[in-house]
């Protein structure tokens, strides 16, 4: 099923609006308020532009903007298909809240080099929406690599030796992935002479031999697997937690890592196509990686005392839920995966926001130091509780829904064991998240006299994201319909 395409400037504007904010942010480096205004304005405008694309995507009219030929045979083209709109919606929507939160965070800690921070944050969001709307592999790679580089200054923001070495590790992993992706795209171009993403796969018409398809898929997997933190390519993510918390919250729980997973969905469903993957049992390969990552990631999370690292391992594990849903190669499973892509974002960003609020207010980073803080910071910890329960899959929070879809699709495709994996992982989630809640509310803490909530700039966004987990759990309609459109385009019906 190919949807009718409508030429439109909106996708381009959605990508560029945050890039246009960069010079403004740089020029107003001496006036923090003006700088923050530009960021918020850009975030609001970006979200508005993506929202404007939503009705078209839901009705099946795809907005397309064709720029020019970037390399012979491939055009630089943006295409706001349902999958892209879903991802862009999540990233740009949460950017507004993250920007508010960033203002509270940077002021609360009196951070240095805030101009650089806000400028590169804006570049990252441009790249992310570019990834979402990329119509072909070359356009995708262009934005994917920009995202890699634009995140680096945010990872090393603190400029401590630890941050610098985390930045090196981050670059080593992501740049290696980038070159693999380039090789994979070049190879695909020589095979079929066309790199435009198509529901059902670019390769669906080409009869690829196994000795081509398998190594090519592994190249792609290496390319997108780093950002989606598939084990054993995940280790940059916990290290990158040295970045300021808003960066960890939006980029390392939403934009960057989800760009990786999003890329994987593109590769699986829009480059290779389900039939080709089944023929060479590549779906099984993907499932093995995903299951391993889900379980090992959860187990490693149990062992972390540093709160952000614990959340990072939790992210590693949850990203593979999405990969698992993609690898099952069925409509309901893909819907579950895409819902989890959106819903995990709201839950995990809540938890990171909470971790940042605690750090700004109490300068505590370790789980073992969190006893009794629920009394000092009730709103923060209430939001944390809601996010944690969502990740465990408790109804009616949105985490339950996506897990339900994933689990039932696993049973539906004849792999009930995988549903067991999801249940086991849910229990592990509870085991590494709920003790934090229990400590904060039911244990007696010390050194908390006279401590209050962090500034409203931080508390309001984190309460909003927590409420969002509940609201999306009760009213998942829009995301469900978007995901349903994507799945229908690939698997029919």
């Amino acid at each position: 099923m190919s949807a009718p395409a409508a030429p439109s400037l909106l996708p381009l504007l959605a990508v560029l609006v945050s890039l246009a904010a960069v010079p403004l942010i740089l020029l107003s480096s001496r006036s923090p308020r003006l700088r923050e205004t530009w960021t918020l304005a850009a975030a609001a405008a970006k979200f508005g532009l993506v929202l404007a694309l939503l009705p078209g995507a839901l009705r099946g009219r795809i907005a397309v903007f064709d720029l020019f030929e970037i390399v012979p045979g491939v055009r630089l083209e943006l295409r706001a298909d349902p999958l892209g709109v879903l991802f862009a919606l999540v990233a740009s929507g949460l950017w507004i809240l993250t920007s508010l939160y960033s203002i509270g965070y940077t002021r609360g800690l009196n951070e240095h080099k805030q101009t650089r921070y806000f400028a590169f944050f804006a570049v990252c969001l441009s790249a992310t929406v570019g990834i979402a709307f990329a119509a072909n592999l070359v356009t995708f790679i262009l934005f994917y690599e920009i995202l890699t580089i634009a995140t680096y200054p945010l990872v090393i923001h603190k400029e401590t030796p630890e941050a610098v070495s985390a930045g090196r590790k981050y670059l080593a992993f992501t740049l290696s992935a980038g070159v693999l992706l380039i090789a994979a795209a070049a190879w695909s171009f020589l095979l079929v002479g066309d790199l435009d993403f198509k529901p059902g796969g670019i390769f669906s018409g080409a009869a690829l031999a196994g000795k081509t398809a398998v190594p090519l898929f592994l190249l792609f997997l290496g390319g997108v697997g780093v950002k989606s933190a598939v084990m054993p390519l995940h280790s940059w993510l916990p290290t990158a937690m040295v970045a300021p918390t808003p960066v960890s919250a939006l980029l390392h729980a939403v934009a960057v890592v989800k760009a990786g997973v999003f890329g994987l969905v593109r590769v699986v469903a829009f480059v290779f196509g389900p039939d080709l993957l089944r023929r060479f049992h590549l779906d099984t390969v993907l499932i093995v990686f995903a299951v391993t990552t889900i379980l090992v990631g959860s187990l490693l999370a149990l062992r972390q005392d540093n709160l952000k690292r614990r959340l990072a391992y939790s992210t590693v594990s949850h990203l593979s839920y999405i990969i698992l849903g993609t690898a099952l190669l069925s409509g309901p499973a893909l819907i579950g995966a895409l819902l989890h892509l959106a819903f995990h974002a709201t839950m995990k960003i809540t938890l990171f926001f909470c971790a940042g609020a605690i750090y700004v207010r109490l300068h505590r980073e370790n789980v073992s130091e969190l006893n009794g803080i629920g009394k000092a910071m009730p709103w923060t910890m209430a939001a944390f509780t809601l996010g944690s329960l969502g990740l465990c899959g408790v109804p009616p929070l949105n985490g339950f829904l996506s897990k339900w879809f994933l689990g039932s699709a696993a049973v539906g495709t004849g792999r009930p064991l995988l549903a067991g994996v999801l249940i086991l992982s849910g229990l592990l989630n509870a085991a590494y998240l709920l003790p934090i809640v229990q400590r904060s509310f039911f244990r007696r803490g010390s050194g908390l006299e006279g401590r209050r909530e962090a500034s409203p700039w931080m508390v309001v966004p984190l309460v909003l994201t927590a409420v969002l987990t509940l609201v999306l759990g009760l009213f998942p309609g829009t995301f469900h319909r978007l995901a349903g459109r994507v799945a229908a385009g690939i698997f029919g019906g």
Binding site: F68, E69, I70, V71, P72, G73, L76, I141, L142, E145, I146, T148, I149, I156, E159, V164, R168, L171, A172, L175, S176, G178, V179, L180, I182, A183, A186, W187, F189, L190, G193, D194
Partner: protein, 502 residues
């Protein structure tokens, strides 16, 4: 009159400038730079105009003195030579604008006039090499360019005469090999004209003399382009030469050797001869791959920025060599596009090194810190952009070179070479981020009273502007690469290697 003489115009402009500069600037030394800029601008304008003429009405042949080709000397302006001359003349123009202050700072005043005269002579040689259709005439220009270059290197700092002598010896050997090769060809075919030889060679067959001739010529060009392991002259020459010389030599000099290699292999001997009869193309590609790794690894170990860039040049020339050695259309496109791309990147980087030297008094990597960046924010930004391009990140030009070369290796199913290209971009990241990290993250040194050095001392406009123009071109040319490739480069591809993109 000018249109019909256009192919000969660019080398002649430089040649006359080389003669006029010592006379005209005899009294007013400042005139030397002005005249050099004027000549470079004229030559650049002519060569850009030539591109459009070639696109419009195909290849031009120009007979010197009206003598018909096999006997007389013929100049050929085809898409390839039009492209290469435009690249080298435009680059030279930008670098010459920048050179004004560095030459003034690095050379004693009495050497300024001869210096610019030699630059003109060298450029005349380079243009002649690219445009001539005659092997012996090519040798003459090769020697003109090399002799001028020896002088240009030798006027550098204390160690430069040794570097120049080394280049003199090795370069002469290279020129000698080339001349011997031409001699062998002439004895066996009776012709020195490239087009003529192309027609005669199939009839002559692949006798041992012809094979030796080919090997000697490849060896000669290999030395001139610093193809590993014939690169020995390069690091010292680039490091110790004056800034202006190294920023002219690095983007232009080695490319001329690569161009000669391309001409000999594919336009005279032909694809079949150099891949099947005598598999020299494969040899070139393996040497180039080794050079890519060697240059990148050595670059990591350098403390002097110019020396790091020199080793990086060995690696980058390896890209070009690899593209040539792949002997398929995509590889050749990648190689020729990389002549332009690397020219822009390396010129930009050497200008940055020059800016550092003039303002900070050094370009030692270990002494760079965020203080240097705060003093020279724009120069540092240009460095960062060029470094990202060297690593090969889109949308800079480096990415597109990598794209075509990757396509070329995959087309040949040469997985080792693909791995080398990909690994090289990571090695580039290692040695360029080593500098970037220092420039942006290393706390500035404080003086005795605990204060940082204050204030901006950014390079003067005449230096900053060329640097920034080159940096900006990395993105502009990157985005426009499809226009260049589709519009011009696909037309140069030699017979047997045509390509049609889907």
């Amino acid at each position: 009159m000018i249109p019909t003489n256009a192919p000969a115009l660019a080398p002649l402009i430089f040649l006359f400038a080389a003669l006029i500069i010592p006379l005209a600037a005899f009294k007013v030394r400042r005139l030397a730079w002005v005249l050099a800029i004027a000549a470079a601008a004229a030559a650049a304008a002519v060569s850009v105009w030539n591109i459009f003429r070639v696109l419009e009405s195909g290849t031009f042949h120009y007979r010197f003195g009206g003598w018909p080709p096999p006997l007389g000397i013929e100049y050929v302006l085809d898409p390839l030579s039009a492209f290469i001359t435009a690249v080298i003349n435009l680059t030279a123009l930008v670098v010459l604008v920048h050179s004004h202050l560095t030459v003034a700072a690095e050379l004693p005043e009495r050497k300024h006039v001869p210096y610019y005269a030699l630059v003109m002579l060298m450029m005349s040689g380079f243009n002649g090499i690219v445009l001539t259709g005659d092997f012996f005439n090519l040798y003459v220009f090769l020697e003109i360019a090399s002799l001028a270059l020896y002088g240009l290197i030798a006027v550098g700092d204390r160690k430069s005469p040794v570097a120049a002598f080394r280049y003199l010896v090795i370069g002469m050997v290279g020129g000698g090999f080339y001349l011997l090769g031409v001699g062998f060809l002439y004895i066996n075919s009776g012709s020195l004209n490239m087009a003529d030889l192309k027609a005669i060679l199939p009839a002559v067959g692949a006798g041992p003399e012809i094979i030796v001739a080919l090997c000697f010529m490849v060896l000669g060009f290999g030395i001139k382009m610093a193809l590993f392991p014939l690169h020995g002259w390069l690091p010292d020459a680039y490091t110790y030469a004056p800034t202006a010389t190294s920023s002219l030599m690095a983007p232009i000099g080695t490319k001329i050797g690569a161009y000669g290699l391309l001409r000999v292999l594919f336009f005279v001997f032909g694809v079949n001869f150099v891949t099947r009869t005598v598999p020299l193309a494969q040899v070139v590609s393996w040497l180039a791959a080794a050079g890519i790794l060697y240059g990148s690894i050595m670059a990591m170990a350098q403390d002097e920025l110019k020396r790091m860039l020199a080793f990086s040049s060995i690696a980058q020339v390896g890209y070009i060599g690899l593209g040539i050695g792949l002997a398929n259309s995509l590889g050749l496109l990648g190689a020729v596009l990389h002549v332009l791309n690397h020219g822009l990147m390396k010129a930009c980087l050497f200008l940055v090194a020059g800016n550092f030297r003039l303002r900070l008094g050094h370009s030692r990597i270990r002494a760079l810190d965020s203080g240097a960046r705060r003093r020279m924010p724009w120069t540092s930004a240009a460095f960062t952009l060029a470094a990202l391009s060297m690593i090969g990140l889109p949308p800079t030009v480096g990415f597109f070179s990598k794209w075509y070369l990757a396509l070329g290796t995959i087309r040949n199913r040469s997985w080792v070479f693909l791995a080398v290209i990909l690994a090289s971009s990571l090695l580039n990241a290692v040695y360029f981020f080593r500098v970037i990290e220092r420039l942006y993250l290393r706390p500035a040194l404080r003086d005795n009273e605990g204060r940082e050095a204050e204030g901006r001392t950014e390079a003067a406009p005449s230096m900053l502007l060329p640097t920034l123009v080159l940096a900006a071109s990395l993105i502009v040319i990157g985005l426009l690469n499809a226009v260049i490739v589709n519009g011009l480069l696909v037309r140069f591809l030699p017979p047997g290697l045509e390509i049609v993109f889907p």
